[in-house]
C-alpha cells in the first residue's frame, strides 16, 4: 500500500514547447482533483487585426500567428480566398504548394523530434546535452531541418514568414538550377529520412492504448495537405465548409486558448491522426517501413506520434523529390484573381494538424470578420484527457519529479504550438 499523499505539481513554464504554457496538477490520494493545461500566452487578437485588411495582405499577416508553421497559415488563407473567388491556380501552383508544405513538415517535424521530444525519450535535459552522446542523431536531425527550411526558402526566400506566397499562386518561380540543387539534396536525404523512421520506431516508447477519435483531411488521391474532406475515425466525412456544424470552441478560465470539441468530445489532430486515417495514401516505401516498425497501424498509443512524425518526414522528402524531378519554370507563377464578396473557408494540414480558416469578405476583397481554428486548440482537450489517463496508468505514487517528467513528456508528444493557440474565436457557434 502506498502512503496517502496529496500532490501539487506546478510546472510554471513548459520547456521545449513553442509558446508559453504551464501545467497544474492536484491530486488527493489516488484521485486527480485538478488537471489544467494552462496556456497563458498573451492574446494577440489576430482575428481583429485581420479585419478591414485586403485579402492580399492576409498571407503576410496570418504567417505571423506562428513562426513554426507560417506556411500552414498562408496555405489555409490562400485556399480560402481562391475558393471564394472561384480561381483555380492550376497544376504547377498546386504541385509547388505541396513542395512548400513538405518543406514545412520536414522542418517542423525534424525540429520537434530532435530538439524537443528526443531528449525526453533518451533522458536528457535538452538536445545540446543529448548531442554529446548522440552526435550523429542530432546532426542528422539538424540536417533534415535545414533541408526543410531550404525547401521553404526556395519558394519563400526565407523559412520563417516566407514572402513568396500570394492569393493565386506564387510571386516567384524558382530557377531550374536552384531546383536542381535542392533535388540532389532531397535524393541524398532519402536514406537519412528512412533511417530516422526506424530510429524513432526503435525508441523505448511508453506503451498503452487509449480511446480517442482521430480527425484529419482526406483526399481521394493524395496524402492530405492542401485539400480534402474533413473526416474522423468515428465516421465523420463532411466538406470543410461544414466544420462549424460539427466542431465548437469554448473558453475556459485557465487558458487564453479556446478548446475545440467535436460534438462535445475531445479529439486528436496531427501526424498520428493523419497516418491513422490515411495509411493507404502513403507510398509503398513509407508503408513498408511503418509495417516493419513493429507498431500496429492505425495506432492508439499517443506516444507513437513521434514515429508518425518521422514517417511524415520520410514521406515529405519522397513527395518533394517526386514533384521536383521534372521541374519546369511556368509562364507565370500565379493566376490573377478578382475579389468577390462572400465567405471564404478552407482547411489544410499544418504540421501539428488540421488548420481551419474562415473569412467573411466584402465586395472590395476586404476582410469583415475572420475566424481561425489552429491545431493546438483542437488538441488541447485531448491532451488533458491523455494526461489524466497516462498519469493514472503511470501511477500517482511516483515522485513529484517523475510525475512532472511524465506529464511534460505527454504534453510534448502532441507538439503543441502554444503561440498559435492564442487567438481563438468567440462562442456564438455554441448553439450548434
Amino acid at each position: 500500500m502506498t502512503e496517502q499523499r496529496n500532490i501539487t505539481i506546478r510546472v510554471p513554464v513548459l520547456a521545449r514547447v513553442e509558446g508559453e504554457g504551464a501545467l497544474e496538477l492536484e491530486t488527493r490520494g489516488q484521485d486527480i482533483t485538478t488537471l489544467r493545461l494552462r496556456i497563458f500566452e498573451p492574446p494577440r487578437l489576430f482575428e481583429k487585426i485581420l479585419e478591414e485588411r485586403d485579402y492580399s495582405e492576409v498571407p503576410e499577416i496570418v504567417a505571423r500567428i506562428c513562426g513554426i508553421c507560417p506556411v500552414a497559415y498562408q496555405m489555409s488563407a490562400v485556399h480560402a480566398f481562391e475558393r471564394l473567388f472561384g480561381v483555380d491556380p492550376g497544376s504547377w501552383v498546386r504541385d509547388m504548394r505541396r513542395v512548400l508544405y513538405c518543406g514545412e513538415w520536414v522542418q517542423s517535424h525534424a525540429l520537434h523530434i530532435h530538439l524537443l521530444a528526443a531528449p525526453d525519450l533518451l533522458g536528457y535535459d535538452n538536445a545540446i546535452a543529448m548531442a554529446r552522446d548522440h552526435a550523429e542523431v542530432v546532426r542528422r536531425g539538424l540536417q533534415l531541418q535545414a533541408l526543410g527550411n531550404d525547401l521553404i526558402r526556395l519558394f519563400g526566400a526565407r523559412s520563417v514568414h516566407p514572402v513568396g506566397v500570394r492569393v493565386g499562386g506564387f510571386y516567384h518561380a524558382p530557377s531550374r538550377s536552384d531546383v536542381a540543387e535542392l533535388y540532389v539534396r532531397l535524393l541524398a536525404a532519402v536514406p537519412d529520412a528512412e533511417a530516422l523512421v526506424r530510429w524513432a520506431a526503435a525508441l523505448d516508447l511508453p506503451a498503452g492504448e487509449q480511446r480517442f477519435v482521430s480527425v484529419s483531411l482526406r483526399h481521394p488521391a493524395e496524402y492530405p495537405m492542401n485539400a480534402g474532406r474533413l473526416t474522423s475515425s468515428a465516421g465523420l466525412d463532411v466538406a470543410v465548409e461544414e466544420f462549424e456544424l460539427h466542431f465548437a470552441e469554448q473558453q475556459v478560465e485557465h487558458s487564453t486558448a479556446l478548446y475545440c470539441l467535436l460534438k462535445g468530445r475531445p479529439y486528436l489532430v496531427g501526424p498520428l491522426a493523419r497516418i491513422n486515417l490515411n495509411l493507404e495514401r502513403l507510398p509503398a516505401a513509407v508503408r513498408v517501413v511503418l509495417d516493419e516498425s513493429g507498431i500496429l497501424w492505425p495506432s492508439r498509443n499517443p506516444f507513437h506520434a513521434i514515429v508518425a512524425r518521422a514517417a511524415e518526414i520520410y514521406y515529405a522528402v519522397l513527395e518533394a523529390s517526386r514533384i521536383l524531378k521534372d521541374y519546369s519554370v511556368p509562364a507565370a507563377p500565379y493566376t490573377a484573381v478578382e475579389p468577390k464578396a462572400g465567405v471564404a473557408i478552407a482547411s489544410t494540414e499544418a504540421p501539428r494538424g488540421m488548420l481551419w480558416h474562415r473569412y467573411d469578405v466584402n465586395e472590395d476583397g476586404r476582410v469583415v470578420r475572420a475566424r481561425i481554428v489552429p491545431p493546438t486548440s483542437q488538441n488541447q482537450a485531448r491532451i488533458e484527457a491523455d494526461l489524466r489517463h497516462s498519469l493514472e496508468a503511470f501511477g500517482l505514487d511516483h515522485s513529484d519529479d517523475e510525475l512532472r517528467r511524465r506529464c511534460e513528456m505527454v504534453i510534448r508528444s502532441y507538439d503543441p504550438c502554444i503561440s498559435c493557440a492564442t487567438h481563438f474565436l468567440d462562442l456564438r457557434i455554441e448553439r450548434y
Binding site: 509558446g19 492574446p43 506562428c66 526565407r158 520563417v160 514572402v163 469554448q250
Partner: protein, 265 residues
C-alpha cells in the same frame, strides 16, 4: 561589454513575451552552428530549447515578444535587472509587433469580440516595445530576425564590442544584389525606400514589393513615399495600412499611417 575571458562561457537567456516564436527560431534554425554556438555560450534559460531558469543572472538576454500584460511589465523589469546586455529581437520586442495595432484601436472591445468571457483574459490594453519599459542595449529589427543577425550580434558581444547597427534602406541591399527595382519597372508599391536593411532585400528579389517587415530605416521620408504610392494609384487608406502593419508601433510608421487614416477619413 568586455571580451570574454578564455574558458568562460557567457551565460545567455532567451525570453519570450507576446510573439509567434519565429525570432527564437533564428537560433534553432542555425543547423550545425547551433552546436558550435552552444559550445561558445551557455544557454541558461531558453524554454523552447530546454533550459528553464528565467531568474538566473546572465551576460546576454535576448528578448522576443511585446509587453502586453501586467505580468509582462513586471517580468521585463526582472529580466533587465538580471542581464548585463539586453537585446530585443524582432518587430514584437522592438516595436510592439502587429499586435500593437490594438493600441490604435479599442483593445478592450477587441478582446470582448474574441472571448466570450473577457474577464478570464488578462491582458493590457496595449502591446508595447520592450524599450518603452526598460533600457535596451541593442535592437535587432526584423519580422523575423535572421540567424545572420543573431550570429553577428553574439559574435560581436563575444569579442567584447557593440554589434554593428544596420540602419540603411532596403534599396541599398537591393541594388547590391543587382535586383531590378520593382517600383520603377513594375509600378509596385515597394516600402524598401523607408525600410531598414537586414533581410537581404528578399521581397524585391522575388519580384514583389517590400512590406516593411524590418521597420523604419534611419532618415525615412514617409511623406515622399506616400506621394509616390498615391501616384501609383493606391488609395490613401491602403497606403496607411502599409505603414500600420508589422511595425505599426515604430514612430515614423505610426505617424505616417495615422496621417493617412485621418486625412482621408
Amino acid at each position: 561589454m568586455t571580451p570574454v575571458a578564455a574558458g568562460y562561457k557567457p551565460q545567455v537567456a532567451v525570453h519570450k513575451f507576446a510573439s509567434c516564436d519565429g525570432c527564437q527560431l533564428a537560433f534553432l534554425n542555425l543547423g550545425e552552428d547551433l552546436l558550435l554556438l552552444s559550445s561558445l555560450v551557455e544557454f541558461v534559460h531558453f524554454a523552447e530549447a530546454g533550459p528553464v531558469n528565467p531568474e538566473a543572472p546572465v551576460d546576454i538576454a535576448f528578448v522576443e515578444g511585446s509587453i502586453s500584460t501586467a505580468k509582462d511589465v513586471e517580468r521585463i523589469q526582472l529580466v533587465r535587472a538580471r542581464s548585463r546586455f539586453l537585446v530585443t529581437i524582432g518587430a514584437c520586442a522592438t516595436a510592439g509587433g502587429l499586435q500593437a495595432l490594438r493600441n490604435l484601436a479599442d483593445g478592450q472591445a477587441w478582446i470582448a469580440d474574441i472571448y466570450a468571457i473577457p474577464a478570464y483574459v488578462e491582458s493590457l490594453m496595449s502591446s508595447t516595445a520592450v524599450a518603452q519599459h526598460v533600457k535596451v542595449d541593442l535592437e535587432l529589427w526584423g519580422c523575423p530576425v535572421s540567424s545572420r543577425q543573431l550570429v553577428a550580434a553574439v559574435r560581436a558581444l563575444l569579442f567584447g564590442v557593440a554589434p554593428v547597427e544596420e540602419r540603411d534602406k532596403v534599396c541599398m541591399e537591393c541594388k547590391r544584389s543587382q535586383i531590378v527595382c520593382v517600383m520603377v519597372a513594375h509600378g509596385l508599391p515597394c516600402m524598401g525606400p523607408v525600410t531598414r536593411t537586414g533581410c537581404g532585400a528578399l521581397c524585391p528579389s522575388f519580384g514583389r514589393d517590400c512590406y516593411a517587415c524590418y521597420g523604419p530605416a534611419e532618415n525615412p521620408n514617409t511623406q515622399a513615399l506616400t506621394r509616390r504610392l498615391e501616384g501609383l494609384g493606391i488609395a490613401p487608406a491602403a497606403i496607411g495600412r502599409r505603414f500600420l502593419s508589422i511595425n505599426n508601433g515604430a514612430a515614423p510608421f505610426t505617424e505616417a499611417g495615422l496621417r493617412l487614416m485621418h486625412d482621408h477619413d
